[in-house]
């Protein structure tokens, strides 16, 4: 860790030499370790000490961005020069409102020393516990256990001085019998929250329950989606629906549906970067405080998130969801999504189903079929079961679904009272806090051989 004082002292010096009208420097540094296992041995075990420094310079309404991973003053000066050179070549960005000034930021604890100090040996010890639990049923395991710490600083010549230290810990486990597999996942800023034994047992029991799966015909089924399955769907709903670019481009289902009924009354989804139950952060990469934003409230379309440029374009303030300057073309994206809970336990959901499918998780979802209608496709994996007369009968071979999430989430029959934190697939800083859902209709359009 470099530390707040050293970083800002260095950035003051670099910014002082800047000939741009405004200058922003964003620092993201991390020490990261990941222990990956398969066939119940550790086969990949990696550590990375890295950082990224992004310098955004403004000449009038022209914006230049350059970045480096070297903190040496000479390299930062060269990056600053590159950024100014790029800005000179730029065309005016009429939507750019200038860099933000300082605001009041929430004080939240996102750093836990035990996680930061976690070593490859510590991770190996946890991973071995997973192997032992799986071996009791002679199952093999695959997965990854990751821990790391980092610091994020946002500095600009308008007075923004944001700084936060963070830690992260996550694990994913797949337990495998000869004919089936089961899955579990954990995520927290505190490594102590990750109980490898409990999670291993969940994955093992799922694989055991699904042994010798039988084929099930494709069709419209009542489904119970466990939190990992819900999060995988909502991750795509987020990607194609909750960001500012999709909203502006009219490719989002919310573009023409604000104030309209889009899902069942029981469905509420929002982003809250300040809720410490998730992977919270007090500010975004422009130094704007995070605001709570509702996307769907009681089934009604409410809004999307904005950064400074896309917000200004739409005549609204930033909601504190700006990405780093190199990704501003993507618009703003939510990173801490919460789905509101209900009052029906998973056991009650299963007991209420006459004939339906229980889904642990999905694989390889794609949401580009028809984004305004939220049509997604993907496969089930690592634990799909047939429910008959209120009981899990047996595992079923994996199924392909192709369905509109507007349709599926309009048929909600129940939501669980607790939710689980699921890491985002494509971004280590994002997560979704998801409960289990009982849906009245979900369209499976294909089958596979295992």
């Amino acid at each position: 860790m470099i530390g707040k004082d050293k970083l800002f002292e260095l950035f003051e010096k670099v910014a002082k030499s800047s000939k741009a009208d405004e200058t922003e420097i964003v620092y993201i540094g991390s020490n990261f370790g990941l222990t990956r296992f398969a066939n119940s041995i550790i086969h990949q075990n990696v550590n990375e000490a890295n950082c990224k420094i992004l310098i955004r310079t403004i000449l009038g309404k022209k914006i230049g961005v350059a970045s480096t991973n070297s903190l040496s003053y000479a390299d930062l000066k060269a990056t600053l020069s590159n950024s100014i050179e790029i800005a000179k070549y730029q065309k005016d960005n009429k939507h750019f409102p200038g860099l933000p000034g300082p605001e009041k930021y929430a004080e939240i604890n996102t750093y836990f020393e035990n996680t930061a100090l976690y070593s490859p040996k510590d991770r190996a010890r946890q991973v071995k516990k997973i192997f032992i639990r799986a071996n009791k049923r002679k199952f093999l395991t695959a997965g990854a256990f990751a821990t790391g710490d980092g610091e994020i600083a946002v500095f600009n010549t308008k007075g923004v001085r944001c700084y936060q230290t963070v830690t992260n810990a996550s694990v994913n486990i797949i337990a495998m019998s000869g004919t089936s597999s089961g899955y579990s996942v954990g995520l927290s800023r505190k490594v102590e929250d990750i109980d490898a034994v409990v999670l291993a047992d969940i994955a093992v029991e799922k694989a055991y329950l699904g042994k010798k799966p039988k084929p099930l015909e494709a069709g419209d089924y009542e489904v119970i989606l466990e939190p990992a399955a819900v999060a995988a769907l909502i991750e795509w709903v987020n990607y194609i629906g909750f960001g500012s670019k999709a909203y502006i481009d009219k490719t989002s289902f919310l573009s023409d549906n604000i104030g309209k009924k889009v899902m069942a009354d029981s469905v509420t989804m929002y982003d809250d970067g300040l809720d410490q139950a998730a992977i919270s952060m007090p500010f975004d990469f422009e130094g704007v405080p995070k605001k709570k934003v509702y996307f769907i409230e009681k089934g009604i379309g409410k809004g999307v998130v904005f950064d400074r440029i896309t917000g200004n374009r739409e005549g609204v303030p930033s909601t504190g969801h700006g990405l780093t300057a190199s990704d501003h073309g993507q618009g703003a994206i939510p990173l801490n999504i919460f789905i509101e809970t209900g009052n029906k336990s998973l056991a009650e959901m299963i007991a209420s189903v006459k004939r339906g499918v229980l889904v642990t998780r999905f694989h390889y979802i794609n949401g580009f079929i028809d984004t305004p209608k939220l049509v997604l496709t993907g496969m089930t994996r690592d634990g799909t079961y047939l429910i008959e007369d209120g009981q899990i009968k047996h595992g079923v071979k994996n199924l392909r679904f192709t369905d509109s999430m507007l349709r599926a989430f309009s048929t909600v029959k129940g939501i669980s009272p607790e939710r689980q934190l699921i890491p985002s697939w494509w971004d280590s800083v994002g997560c979704i806090a998801a409960p289990a859902f009982h849906l009245g209709a979900f369209k499976f359009t294909g089958t596979t051989d295992f």
Binding site: H43, Q44, A66, K91, A124, N172, H328, M379, N398, G446
Partner: protein
């Protein structure tokens, strides 16, 4: 740099490691995106560091640092060693590496015009013109044009004496028009979707793309799609364009033939493979005309290089021959398991990542048909053009792909345009239904810049040579 890397490797040898290698990588990149006449991204990035891989007591450790200081590199080597020791506590069978010649060489990729020496104004000007022409009709809601350039210098040294330097330049560009009429949203791209086409070449590749020549057609097709009929639900013959064939090869042959995946080491993320070792030289993967090769030696293709990140020289290797599964993509650790030496496909996406088996140029070899003859030979069917949606199960069997646009084929002629086209199938059945592939005149190597694999995630740039091909009795239109 070689001296610094060798010094730390000497130190590791003193620690009695089984094997170690060290990679210095410097990547300079430039990204330009123009959306609706505004340059919303114009960035330059420089990324430098060293990664060290250690095999000790038959187990692996890897550590990487964003520094080129010798003291930092040594500290990192020690971290890699300690990590290997932690891994060794779970070893069942010690990892063994296939023999490889310890090359000392300097490879440079072909490049006529260094894209970083082309004035930014010229590059922005071209994208601006494309964006302006795409949005010249009010039905175009968003017009995006982009270009990306990468310049990589890497130095690889190993405890076996390898010392290889490589300088690689990659370039790519493309554009997309998104149309909207208040009810419907459609997209049309050129020369390919998902950021266009890429090659391990210089700016001359961008100049040869005919970007401006195709902009009006792309815009008009995006608008036509708004009023096109939906792709019907049916079982029918289909002809798939070259760029979509590239993705078909990528997902249903490239990934399942990665031997690390076959051996289970990618299960935790993207899954396993149906192409198991007991099917080698037995599995009838496709019809007799299906021949698929991995070939990292093709000058200028995005999946080409001099040496992989284990120091193995680039090669051409068969995967499918006359429809039979005959080979895998291998590494030094996996190849001995099937009694072979590595065919050189281990690559990392930077100094900070562990090399994994990655696709090179995985090519469907051309057939003998002219496209017009193939269409004329098809009584009823659909022509699928340019990828929009991709999804496949975790053993790479059940797939479903959607494209931006399709055309009905009736009595050997292209007919009405169809929107939201999807086709689906099971991999071996699908490839066994392939009865015609177009000839070399229609064959092109499509650069795929965003192939994801591994934990932590790595993004590789790979490529696929393909020509349009016909498949019989495929399920289409399973959309809503």
């Amino acid at each position: 740099m070689k001296d610094k890397l060798n010094n730390v490797l000497d130190w590791l040898k003193e620690k009695k490691v089984d094997y170690a290698d060290a990679r210095f990588v410097r990547i300079e990149s430039e990204a330009i995106r123009v959306t609706d006449g505004i340059v919303d991204t114009l960035t330059k990035d420089v990324n430098v560091g060293v990664g060290i891989r250690v095999l000790h007591d038959g187990a692996w450790g890897f550590a990487a640092v964003a520094s080129v200081k010798e003291a930092d590199i040594k500290k990192t080597a020690n971290k890699a060693l300690q990590t290997a020791r932690a891994s060794a506590t779970t070893v069942k069978e010690k990892a063994k590496l296939a023999e490889v010649k310890a090359y000392k060489d300097h490879y440079k990729s072909p490049c006529e015009k260094d894209p970083f020496s082309i004035p930014v104004d010229d590059k922005v000007g071209l994208l601006m013109e494309l964006s302006d022409r795409l949005r010249s009709d009010s039905k175009i809601k968003t017009a995006e044009a982009s270009a990306d350039f990468y310049k990589t210098n890497k130095v690889f040294c190993s405890t076996e004496g390898a010392a290889i330097e490589q300088d690689i330049i990659e370039s790519g560009a493309g554009y997309t028009a998104t149309s909207y009429d208040g009810k419907e949203v459609q997209k049309r791209s050129y020369p390919n979707s998902h950021r266009g086409d890429f090659a391990t070449r210089g700016y001359e590749f961008i100049e040869e793309m005919k970007l401006l020549d195709n902009v009006d057609r792309t815009r008009e097709e995006a608008i036509q799609l708004l009023t096109a009929d939906d792709c019907p639900d049916a079982e029918t013959d289909i002809i798939i364009c070259g760029s979509q064939m590239a993705l078909q090869v990528h997902e249903s042959c490239g990934h399942p033939s990665e031997l690390d995946r076959v051996l289970g080491t990618e299960i935790s993320l993207a899954g396993g493979s149906f192409m198991q070792i007991d099917g080698l030289n037995k599995l009838k993967y496709g019809s007799d005309i299906v021949n698929i090769f991995a070939d990292a030696t093709i000058p200028g293709a995005l999946g080409s290089f001099g040496y992989d990140d284990e120091g193995v020289k680039a090669q051409r290797a068969p995967i499918i021959q006359n429809g039979l599964h005959v080979g895998y993509l291998t590494s030094r650790e996996t190849a001995p398991i099937i009694g072979q030496t590595s065919n050189g496909t281990m690559r990392a996406d930077g100094w900070n990542r562990l090399p994994l088996i990655r696709m090179t140029n995985i090519n469907l070899e051309p057939g003998e048909w002219k496209l017009e003859d193939l269409i004329a030979d098809t009584r009823d069917g659909i022509f699928f053009d340019m990828n929009k949606v991709w999804s496949i199960d975790d053993k790479r069997l059940n797939f479903q792909f959607g494209v931006e646009c399709a055309w009905e084929i009736k009595s050997g002629k292209l007919g009405r345009m169809l929107k939201n086209p999807l086709y689906t199938g099971m991999t071996p059945k699908f490839w066994n239904s392939c009865d015609a592939i177009c000839n070399r005149n229609y064959w092109h190597i499509w650069g795929v810049p965003n192939c994801g694999k591994g934990e932590p995630m790595q993004t590789a740039r790979v490529a696929h040579g393909a020509a349009p091909a016909r498949f019989r009795k495929v399920k289409v239109g399973v959309s809503k």
